[in-house]
Point group: C2
Chain length 195, copies 2
């Protein structure tokens, strides 16, 4: 049978579907691919840090390994850390434990917004105050009994969404990789070699 | 006895002592104060995060509580997170798990440089590549058995310093608050209320 006179296949470019500003088509494509081949989900994120001077140092993030390939970011990201004067720095950047709070906050926010989008739950506004308790007697080595890390972190979110969705939105925080890394702990191997 | 003809007290403004660019006088003043009153070490770091759109969100860091008072940073720091296109973002910032690697790298670097300075150990150069293993089957909820956070992180440092100091420099990483938070884990309380 000749196709010549048959109706052409409908090629209707449709709008991508967005919920909470998340492109569900893009996310769905990634989810579908990993469902079909779970190995595609195996990822290795990377950061290169260089000491500048004193308590000032700088990290560059350019790409990561995922979907069985190296993937370059569209741009290189430079992240700067320093300490405030009370900790012998020049305050040229947030300090490392503040960057940790940002990593946690941004991950919790992303987990709630993206997983809500997939469930069709609309969020109008979302903001959080994060606080972490740290006793400098630990870091400074003044008391060997004092924990050197954070002993507690609180993330207090305020959301503008339907009242009925609040509990679900809260529960979606549990998907956050940084939340899980911090609450479960992770082995960190530190090696030091000469240049 | 009249002081009039006595030798004036020597007021010789001396240079601050720096090792590795760390102002040891400033650090020493903080250490001395906390030694005398350990309560001065109790700190609470803080970050405010706001969702922008999709997987894009922004954190502001303006100050912290320490030395029994609120201390403002000299400037406000804005930190931006986004996701790459494969995770339905626009790549407008490093993603949360990359920010976590930066937090860890910057903290390990600071711990090694500052504690080396206090011990008179000179460091000429210090750089690190950090890698973290993460299986997206966890975050995406595709396999409930897959951990959602990092399962391992490697921090590979290269240092230019005297060979005899290498082992000591490596050991100083153990003072890092972010390293300790990640390896020991920390309780994170997440609350969500309506605006």
């Amino acid at each position: 049978m000749s196709q010549q006179n048959s109706q052409p296949s409908p090629v209707e470019p449709r709008e991508a579907v967005f919920v909470n500003g998340v492109n569900l088509d893009a996310l769905g494509a990634t989810v579908g691919a990993i469902k079909a081949d779970p190995e595609l989900g195996v990822s290795r994120f990377r950061a290169v840090n260089r000491w500048v001077d004193g308590n000032h140092n700088r990290t560059t993030v350019t790409g990561f390994y995922g979907a069985k390939q190296e993937i370059a970011h569209r741009q290189a990201f430079t992240l700067v850390a320093d300490e405030p004067p009370i900790l012998a720095g020049n305050d040229d950047g947030a300090n490392p434990v503040e960057h940790l709070l940002h990593a946690l906050a941004s991950c919790l926010t992303t987990a709630m917004v993206a997983h809500a989008a997939v469930r069709g739950i609309e969020i109008e506004e979302l903001e959080a105050v994060l606080e972490g308790d740290l006793d400098l007697n630990g870091f400074l080595g003044l008391n060997p009994e004092t924990p050197k890390g954070y002993t507690a972190i609180r993330a207090s979110y305020r959301v503008k969404a339907a009242e009925k969705d609040l509990a679900t939105i809260r529960s979606l925080a549990s998907f956050s990789p940084v939340f899980n890394t911090l609450t479960n702990g992770v082995p960190v191997d530190v090696s030091v070699e000469t240049i």
